[in-house]
């Protein structure tokens, strides 16, 4: 029992010593691969002037918030260049804590994402869920999900909208798996730029009106706002602002060729509002910081490992001291010094091998279980 407990403690100590660098290396590797792939699959990104890291992370991984926005006019401007597929992206809202991505159908074609079940979102009020999101919410086609209230105490804020699930995307192992996709129109409705309410006309009850003239009828707050877009009320949804001024977070560009990419980038380098970014470059810069941090951790682990080895050596020496009689008995019985050394070395080697094995298993497990950590930037 004593020997088993002693070995278990030694294995546990060694496992921890080996585990930390293994786990960090694997996680950093997975993290790097994951975000690098996303960067490579996004050739060019256009967004408002500002922090390039924020814009990249926001547009590619749907995390964080962008402080300023572009407009549909900017999207129109880029589209008219005719140098590739331009995909508008509208972010900033969520449903059941999953980010809502308002985009066009081109997004799915350009990223080669297909619907595993149902369809991609085409109509106002429709939502298609990323694979992991659907699993997590246990949502099926035909179900509804409510968008999250942005600020519970803001009475003037837009109502949560009930979205109808029309599809589930195939797994992509990217941030798309954990997002709720809608059309651009739906995204604008969610942000309160578009809305639907009961018809206001000559026959509307006066109690629901603020003012009524021959030219204009103005309703008061008692007018019923629709929180769900369906076939019966879809015609009542409208936008009050100029369509060209409707906001978008960024524009993902898939240029026709390298030449088109270079021209597009060069043309907008000195633009007043729009900044062009190559996400792979931005992610590379971001990874540099991560790698530098990893090096810092590595040196810390090296010192910890050295301390652990010194402790282990002390334990082994003390163990040898307490087993002196055993060693002597073995020698007297005819065991060579070499064999005695081999017996003790084998013990240490077995301990180390088990520790490395457990550390690797632990590192793999933590990578698997800790995929949520990686999701932060997916």
């Amino acid at each position: 029992m004593f020997h088993k407990a002693k070995s278990a403690i030694q294995i546990a100590a060694l496992t921890l010593t080996f585990f930390l660098p293994f786990a960090t290396a694997i996680m950093v590797e997975n993290f790097s691969t994951s975000i690098t792939e996303r960067g490579k699959s996004t050739p060019l990104l256009f967004g408002p002037k500002g922090d390039r890291f924020d814009l990249t992370i926001n547009s590619l991984f749907f995390r964080g918030h962008s402080s300023s926005e572009l407009s549909m006019a900017d999207f129109q401007l880029l589209s008219e260049e005719n140098r590739g597929i331009m995909v508008p992206v509208r972010l900033g809202f969520s449903a059941r804590n999953f980010p809502i991505v308002g985009t066009s159908v081109d997004y799915f074609a350009a990223r080669n994402i297909t619907a595993k079940l149902g369809t991609i979102p085409l109509m106002l009020g429709e939502a298609t869920l990323g694979n992991e999101c659907a699993k997590s919410l246990n949502a099926k086609i035909g179900d509804h999900i409510l968008t999250d209230q942005v600020n519970l105490y803001d009475l003037s804020a837009s109502y949560p909208i009930k979205l109808k699930v029309v599809g589930v995307l195939s797994q992509t192992h990217s941030a798309d798996d954990n997002a709720v996709f809608t059309s651009m129109g739906t995204a604008w409705v969610i942000s309160g730029l578009g809305h639907g309410h009961e018809p206001i006309d000559e026959e509307t009850d006066n109690t629901k009106l603020l003012s009524k003239t021959k030219k204009q009828i103005t309703a008061n707050a008692s007018i019923e706002q629709f929180i769900e877009i369906n076939e019966g009320n879809i015609k009542e949804f409208h936008f009050h602002s100029d369509p060209a001024l409707l906001p978008i977070t960024s524009i993902i560009a898939f240029p026709k060729s390298t030449k088109d990419r270079t021209i597009l980038k060069a043309k907008y380098l000195r633009h007043q509002r729009i900044q062009p970014l190559e996400p792979s470059t931005v992610i590379g810069e971001l990874l540099d910081v991560v790698i530098r941090l990893k090096r810092l951790f590595d040196s810390s682990y090296a010192i910890t490992a050295l301390a652990a080895v010194l402790f282990l050596t002390t334990v082994i020496l003390l163990s040898l001291q307490t087993r002196k009689k055993e060693t002597k008995a073995l020698f007297l019985m005819g065991c060579s010094r070499g064999t005695i050394c081999m017996i003790f070395s084998a013990e240490i080697i077995i301990l180390c091998l088990f520790s490395i094995l457990f550390a690797l298993l632990g590192a793999c497990a933590i990578t698997f279980l800790g995929s949520d950590i990686l999701q932060i930037l997916r």
Binding site: F2, F331, M333
Partner: protein, 224 residues
């Protein structure tokens, strides 16, 4: 007169950097005899036993066991000789508590790469375990045995290779007189069954009646 097994001629032994020396002009120990080495502490009982076992090499003189002069053997050959021909019973048994009883019994075979663990070895271990009454505990660990069983296991381990010499280094040192007699009788009984010569180091004069010969090692040693 028994046929001689161990012959010592003009033996001189001195530890390096020590003022102790052991001189044995002539000593013969017969086959299957039971000999007690007695003498005061530090007189060289263990040293003489270790010389006979080939653990120590004499400074001068010869130790001949079964016609083999131990002085002429290399260290490796002496080790092999020891593993094959000498069984040890220690005062505190020195059983390996992380090995099962059966593995403790087979330990003398395991540690000597010259001796393969054949079925014959296993059978021998089994029959010894049976004769000392622990055959039903072969898969247990020494700590699960009683004190008496541990003693018997230690005796069996010393005899498992059918050694021509068994050296017992004060195996009854920590026991009361009655138990010591019982243990000693068990050692003598088992070593007689295996036809081994028993050399027992002891301080206990009450046990001497069990031995055919008694050698006072103090007569051979001197401190200067």
């Amino acid at each position: 007169m028994k046929e001689s097994l161990i012959q010592i001629r003009n033996l001189n032994f001195r530890y390096p950097k020590s003022n102790f020396s052991l001189s044995v002009p002539e000593l013969t120990i017969g086959k299957e005899s039971k000999v007690a080495l007695i003498g005061k502490s530090g007189c060289g009982k263990t040293t003489l036993a270790h010389l006979i076992a080939g653990i120590l090499n004499p400074t001068e003189g010869n130790i001949i066991v079964s016609g083999k002069n131990l002085n002429l053997l290399t260290e490796r050959e002496r080790r092999e000789y020891r593993a094959a021909n000498v069984g040890f019973i220690f005062q505190e048994f020195e059983l390996l508590d992380y090995l099962q009883v059966k593995d403790n019994l087979l330990l003398p075979f395991m540690i000597n790469r010259g001796i393969a663990i054949t079925n014959e070895c296993k059978d021998k271990a089994h029959s010894l375990a049976k004769s000392i009454g622990i055959s039903d505990k072969l898969n247990q660990y020494p700590e699960q045995l009683s004190g008496g069983e541990r003693q018997r296991l230690a005796i069996a381990r010393a005899l498992v290779t059918n050694p021509s010499i068994v050296i017992a280094d004060e195996p009854t040192g920590n026991l009361d007189n009655e138990t010591a007699q019982t243990v000693m009788q068990e050692i003598i009984k088992q070593s007689t069954e295996t036809g081994s010569t028993l050399i027992m180091i002891t301080h206990d004069e009450s046990l001497l009646n069990l031995f055919e010969n008694t050698i006072n090692v103090g007569d051979f040693s001197k401190t200067f």
